[in-house]
Symmetry: C2
Subunit: 319 residues, 2 copies
């Protein structure tokens, strides 16, 4: 088997020193002439040499691994969570393997199993499920739920203060003097962002749609294509807000001149819309840090709720 | 050890039938009362039961696994590649583990090693490197390079026809009667998209920047803040085009009235800019399909180049 091929064998085959083989494998610390490097790589391929990953791991300080299950990576929010978890894990000497799910319970369950079977030390599940408790308790590795709005009995979980964020956004829009603040949100009635909007003084109308750009576009066309449109709107996700801006553009309505908009999530995309979106920013990095700390047993909290931050830009009428 | 705990043990502990335990674990096919399901999950947790993944894999038709190394997931293009690889792999009964890299050679190398060490059958590397040949040949599993513009000796690779796509985009803009077509692109001079732009009749100016929204914004401010701005521009990536649109908005220039824009990549974000972006669409799904086929040995091609498709929308002056 290839496991018995040593670096010395590769060196002999390629006609170079063992150190040069190491430089080629590790891309340093010393440079190797291109033709020599090619010869070494050929020798590695021919002999089926496989570097000793345990030794490599020791040199790197870790062979430790976390799993992370994320929903649809086409939503920049989940991509930002994936990157943040990776960054904070790397700072602790951990690599991360990602598995993207379609967001359903079966699918999340299966991804957790796949990662567990590959020997990860813990799995972080960034979930959009209303019932993430369907994730198996039997997976045999610690699980941490990231981005749940509610406590999930039996699992450590983390979420943003969605109620407070939505309330502050709505109060801010009313503070501008706009008489009515509508709501664009997902299909589920009464969730925390809707409660926060209502607590902040939101009275309607409400347009529901998928949590996607297209869902926001369709909801925006319905809400603002009608004659009794609201003067301002709180949109419960950035993706939907991008769709609402597109709908307003098509309807010839100016933002914020005709309609003021505040979104929720605070992904990088909101800095590059025209105009830039005022948004309730989720503390993605802090949430990722708390999730990794919990997954590695650095603390034992069962539930943490982190505050959101209202970022003021042009779409609400500020700046 | 927990491996010796059986489903029958769980059933006995929870006071239910073995079938009910299965329904809870698999979330079906029959519904289970919430209180009963909670009891089963408690039993699983207490006993440390771990479902037999081999049996599960057989039931699902596979326990096979591919690895996929992707650069910055904050770019929707890479997220789309990740989703597409997962979808085409799933259609063949394969799961995918993702590892996101910072895009450097060391980092890609390490991710390949991490995935290889976890027993994946092959690794697909979606790379932005000019020199992806630095990926180790010694990882012991088949590698396929996805999204390389050039042939990479020693590795099977796939890419889009960047030259042809850029040429067609530029010719299309000139066909509208715009006298000059500028270029916004990355820092590396003379790559295929630049060659294609030139072959299509592009004469300048050129503004270079990072392949990011911010890089496009900065390049756009430079190119269009000057008095001798071009009437049209080909932007070599969607991310940069989003930044260019933001710069034009700030400068008070209308698209396409003052400046016509065509981008390259064709991610979903281009459908939701204002106006919508005309773009050279990469055949992401077909590329992912070809990469997975190659990784699984369904064909033995060393190099495949897939055609791009010019998608006409409002930003170039069409529609």
């Amino acid at each position: 088997m290839s496991a018995k091929v040593t670096r010395a064998d590769v060196a002999r085959y390629a006609g170079v020193s063992s150190a040069v083989v190491s430089y080629v494998i590790n891309d340093g610390p010393r440079p190797v002439a291109q033709a020599t490097a090619a010869r070494v790589r050929d020798a590695i391929a021919v002999l089926g040499y496989r570097p000793n990953t345990t030794a490599q791991a020791l040199r790197r300080g870790s062979s430790r691994l976390l799993g992370h299950v994320v929903p649809d990576l086409g939503n920049p929010l989940w991509a930002e969570f994936a990157l943040a978890v990776e960054a904070v894990a790397a700072a602790r000497g951990y690599d991360v393997l990602l598995a993207s799910s379609e967001g359903g319970a079966d699918d999340e369950h299966r991804r957790v199993e796949t990662l567990s079977a590959r020997g990860v030390d813990a799995v972080i599940v960034t979930s959009v499920l209303a019932r993430p408790d369907l994730v198996s308790r039997g997976s045999g590795v610690p699980l941490v739920l990231l981005n749940t709005f509610f406590e999930v009995p039996g699992f450590p979980s983390l979420g943003v203060d969605a109620f407070g964020g939505a309330q502050e956004a709505t109060e801010h829009l009313l503070g501008h003097g706009y008489g009515t603040v509508g709501l664009v949100i997902g299909g589920e009635t009464g969730e925390l962002r809707e409660q926060g909007w209502r607590a902040g003084g939101g009275t309607g109308p409400i347009a529901r749609g998928e949590f996607s750009r297209h869902g926001g576009y369709e909801a925006g066309k319905r809400m603002f294509g009608s004659s009794d449109r609201p003067r301002a709107v709180f949109v419960a996700s950035d993706m939907q807000a991008v769709g609402v801006l597109r709908a307003l553009y098509e309807l010839g309505l100016d933002v914020p001149g005709d309609v003021a908009v505040v979104s929720f999530d605070g992904t990088v995309e909101t800095e590059f819309t025209n105009p830039q979106l005022t948004t309730v920013r989720q503390p993605v990095r802090a949430m990722a840090d708390a999730a990794v700390a919990r997954a590695l047993g650095e603390d034992s909290s069962e539930r943490r709720v982190l505050p959101a931050e209202l970022v003021l830009r042009a779409s609400c009428g500020c700046g």
